[in-house]
Subunit: 264 residues, 2 copies
């Protein structure tokens, strides 16, 4: 082995378990990331890793990953039984990392499409929305301070590594949007048909709370609102699903206009 691993102490195991709670994450300024694929991507990112805890098999297999690192990382060995008690995942108990929460970026530089999330409460939804943003090349997400915390284990899990590519900024959403000079488009149930809407080249897509939609004051800031046309009985789509569909429509509208294909 090109690096040393020590057995994980009980004290450190307790510390890691505590980080499943938001209170401790904020106090310790650290979060836990689980899963081999996530750790692989993490090692190529600019995040500061404090510890890596993995099985002997993981360290053997992934030796090469650690060879190119510009700084040493404290590595600890634990078996899968112990690892499964430390994290939140139901499977994938080979490795986890304790990572510094990065300092706040003072001011996001917005370009192209930006997502703004008003009071999204479900961690799975936030994670999925980050994955969608990443898919559509959206690099900034503005979150209201009431939106679920980024480093919640369920958010990280649902984001499938996208949190390493997408910048998430927690802001006081109303005043933040108010001072912007770019068009704001709200996703609502009574807006323009998203299939015919003429999206701007640059803008903000605001998606509201799962039950209550966009805050009334924030909706007033929207230059336009858009709606996905419904053809059936169901009253609403899940917020992440609606985000995916609207982002797809926005993206396709920005492409150089091809002649429409002939219908057979």
């Amino acid at each position: 082995m090109v690096f040393d691993t020590r057995p994980l102490s009980k004290k450190k195991a307790t510390y890691i378990r505590q980080l499943s709670l938001k209170k401790y994450r904020l106090q310790e300024n650290a979060f836990v990331l689980e899963g081999e694929k996530n750790i692989q991507t993490l090692l190529t990112s600019s995040y500061a890793i404090r510890w890596i805890v993995g099985t002997a098999a993981f360290f053997m297999k992934q030796q090469v990953l650690f060879e190119g690192l510009s700084y040493p990382i404290a590595c600890f060995e634990a078996d899968t039984a112990l690892l499964s008690t430390l994290g939140s995942l139901q499977h994938n108990h080979d490795v986890l990392a304790v990572v510094d929460i990065p300092k706040k970026i003072t001011e996001p530089i917005l370009s192209g499409i930006t997502l703004a999330l008003d009071n999204i409460r479900d961690p799975g939804n936030l994670g999925t929305m980050m994955r969608i943003a990443d898919w559509y090349g959206i690099t900034n997400i503005l979150c209201s301070n009431t939106t679920v915390e980024l480093y919640n284990p369920k958010v990280l899990q649902a984001s499938m590594g996208s949190f390493l590519h997408v910048q998430v900024h927690y802001v006081d959403l109303y005043p933040y949007l108010q001072q912007l000079q770019i068009p704001i488009i709200g996703a609502t149930l009574q807006g323009s048909n998203v299939h015919h809407f003429c999206f701007p080249n640059q803008g903000i897509l605001v998606v509201g709370n799962e039950s209550h939609g966009i805050d009334y004051e924030i909706e007033k800031l929207c230059a336009d609102t858009v709606t996905i046309p419904a053809y059936g009985h169901v009253e609403s789509l899940n917020a992440a699903m609606a985000t995916a569909i609207i982002c797809d429509n926005w993206r396709r509208s920005l492409q150089p206009l091809f002649p429409p294909p002939m219908r057979p």
Copy 2:
């Protein structure tokens, strides 16, 4: 009260708890549906309800729902503490129903867009796909026999009542698709760009397993395959998310062609 309710017996409570397992659902030919909104819709459907178990407050509030029924339903009273031990929901412990699993429909009549799910394993995904189908007016879903069971509580919960509007047929997918005379389109990672693809007026959209995609033999039955163009780093979209986006593209392509909006 216009109808009688009796307290729920211990024996019936045990019976209901057992229905959380597939084995008992198949043996007893019954499933459990939870939540006030679901029950409201259920009462207007053709499903045969065996029992309704609710709080006194639920029966008081919803009296009018029961007045229009053409057949009597056995109603049992339980408090929220007991109800919370019977079902699978984390919230919404006001009411649940024990419902007969309907007899198999011999032959689905396919028209417009039909969804075919090849080995979807995640109950949340199946439920979400039913909600998407319902949104886009898709009335039939063909499921491979390896796809997660429709009456799994997590499927019903994620479907948000859409299982009452969408017909789900479990079939031996390969021979079933093989004998169809309508075009089959597969969702893959190397297909035609979904933004430019010319969708037929009628057809089947095949979505494959979350990890392995569409079965090789089934993919060979596809007249075409489509892909959602990616603009970022993430390798794949969740299967339900991809289904939503492709259904949206298919639906919008079937609309009377409007002149494209002028870009500002």
